[in-house]
């Protein structure tokens, strides 16, 4: 800081973006030291929405913590649930029926599409274009209706249980999901024409907000951020959990490292997720959706393990320590947004305010996920 302080032009000033600011999508505060419109230093200040989920994980039983998972990254809540039940299942050595795994994959991928759609809309709002948001919400609405029909909620899902899922899907869901896949595919050209080919949008994204692959590695940025920087890191391929190893899909990678690359990764991921949903619906086996004999009060043996899933924003990881009792001894929740935001300070130096906010938008932050 001291060497920066000397370099600061004598007319620099401090600009507080947030905690209430239209560009930060929540209670994130960024303390900007500006030289005119150029950023000298950007210090994110987080913790406004801190709820100490990790402590809550320690002072209640494993099952009672399940609803908490939906309240971290609420835009893609199913992934948090998947990460948590995955860790506990690994700890307790539970085997999940195949039908349940397929249902998990289908609902998670639908959730990923919903999350990416919301991001496309919100990112365009960051750039000053309001209209695409409503189209994205229109499509997202179909997904939420579908997921609501099996999970019972529209945002903070609590659907996965240790050893399976709490509701089986019915024919209506399967038909609805197939219809959605078809209708979403037919909508993709419209998004392409409306957003991807928009000249102002491209000017605002191409070459803006460069994040090198090495920066991503050193800061632990995952998900579309690192894939937009040319690294094909995807937990679904690297450490195939659930039934991802039985499904055929590509990991979109772009090497431009700019906002446009991150946008394209997410748009391609929507297409890939549609493929996954379609395949999984086709392969959906019959059978139970809950493992037999899962005790009501789960007491995993002593030890610890790590389980991570590819959430819509990156690698969501859970490290669980068990001491053999009904409660977890320690529950570490690794949120992708936390690491993705941590590189903002270094990478936004010297950028224009406008471009830095485009970069911030392209990271796809959900603030309660950072604050936990």
């Amino acid at each position: 800081m001291s060497s920066d302080a000397q370099a600061i032009h004598h007319e620099s000033f401090v600009l507080n973006v947030g905690p209430q600011h239209p560009a930060t999508h929540g209670v994130l505060r960024i303390k900007l030291t500006m030289d005119g419109e150029y950023i000298v230093d950007a210090e994110p200040v987080i913790g406004y929405g801190h709820r100490m989920h990790e402590k809550m994980g320690e002072n209640r039983s494993y099952a009672k913590f399940l609803p908490n998972t939906g309240r971290m990254d609420y835009v893609a809540a199913l992934f948090n649930g998947h990460g948590y039940v995955g860790a506990v299942e690994r700890l307790a050595g539970l085997v999940v029926p195949e039908r349940a795994e397929y249902i998990r994959v289908i609902t998670c991928e639908l959730n990923r599409i919903a999350s990416h759609l919301l991001w496309v809309g919100a990112f365009l709002v960051d750039l000053g274009g309001f209209t695409p948001l409503l189209y994205c919400f229109d499509d997202r609405e179909h997904i939420l209706d579908l997921i609501e029909s099996v999970t019972g909620s529209r945002l903070t899902f609590c659907y996965f249980r240790f050893g399976g899922v709490c509701n089986d899907v019915d024919d209506n869901f399967i038909v609805g999901a197939r219809d959605f896949v078809a209708s979403m595919r037919s909508r993709m050209p419209m998004y392409d024409a409306f957003v991807s080919k928009n000249i102002i949008f491209r000017k605002r994204c191409e070459g803006i907000g460069i994040l090198s692959a090495d920066d991503c590695r050193k800061y632990g940025a995952t998900g579309p951020v690192i894939r937009g920087s040319g690294v094909a890191y995807d937990v679904r391929k690297m450490e195939p959990y659930s039934v991802y190893s039985q499904l055929d899909f590509n990991v979109p990678v772009y090497t431009e490292c700019d906002c446009m690359a991150r946008y394209r990764v997410r748009i391609d991921e929507i297409v890939e997720s549609l493929r996954i949903v379609e395949q999984a619906l086709g392969k959906l086996p019959a059978g139970p959706v809950m493992a037999d004999k899962v005790p009501r009060a789960l007491k995993p043996p002593k030890g610890d393990c790590y389980f991570n899933v590819e959430s819509a924003r990156g690698s969501f990881g859970v490290r669980a320590f068990s001491d053999g009792s009904e409660n977890a001894y320690r529950l570490k929740l690794r949120s992708p947004c936390f690491s993705n935001l941590s590189l903002f300070q270094e990478c936004s130096r010297g950028m224009l305010l406008t471009d830095a906010l485009a970069l911030l938008g392209s990271l796809d932050l959900v603030i309660p996920d950072i604050d936990r």
């Binding site: 913790g47 590695r217 632990g220 391929k237 790590y306």
Partner: protein, 156 residues
């Protein structure tokens, strides 16, 4: 980014640390990914985490998380570092233990700048001091917080 260093080579590097110190608390074990979620589980003396981080940095590993665990009964705190290789997907977990009454160990934020926030968070929750950290101020807790909520003897 260069491809992954095989787990075996990494294992040798970590064992070298252990031998240099001739400290018995070093432990390097390959683990079953399906059971533990990690490929290599390394325990190093607390003052050697910087060396461990440098080995992983040279092997182009990515930092995933840092966290602490309060072992009240053992009068120790454990610090767990999770690393993953972004190309091969191999995982390495590095552990270190510090005495509970003097929880201090070196910071690795000079090697992995991303560790900065994780260490601040761990300091918030456990009061573990990372020596050489550029600014160990509360990240998630209030600015004036003097408590460490994840310590097992914490009473609100």
């Amino acid at each position: 980014m260069e491809s992954a260093m095989p787990v075996k080579d990494l294992k040798a590097s970590f064992e070298a640390i252990a031998q240099r110190d001739a400290v018995s608390q070093s432990l390097v074990a390959e683990t079953d990914h399906a059971a533990k979620g990690t490929n290599l589980d390394v325990t190093v003396p607390a003052e050697r985490v910087g060396d461990a981080a440098r080995i992983l940095d040279l092997a182009a590993y990515m930092i995933e998380a840092i966290t602490g665990v309060d072992w009240l009964a053992d009068k120790q705190m454990e610090i767990v570092y999770d690393f993953v290789h972004p190309v091969s997907g191999e995982r390495v977990t590095v552990r270190a233990r510090v005495p509970r009454d003097k929880p201090e160990l070196p910071s690795i934020s000079a090697v992995f700048p991303g560790a900065n926030w994780h260490e601040r968070e761990t300091h918030d929750f456990f009061g573990i001091v990372f020596e050489g950290h550029p600014g160990l101020i509360p990240l998630l807790l209030p600015e004036d917080a003097t408590f460490h909520p994840l310590r097992k003897d914490f009473a609100p």
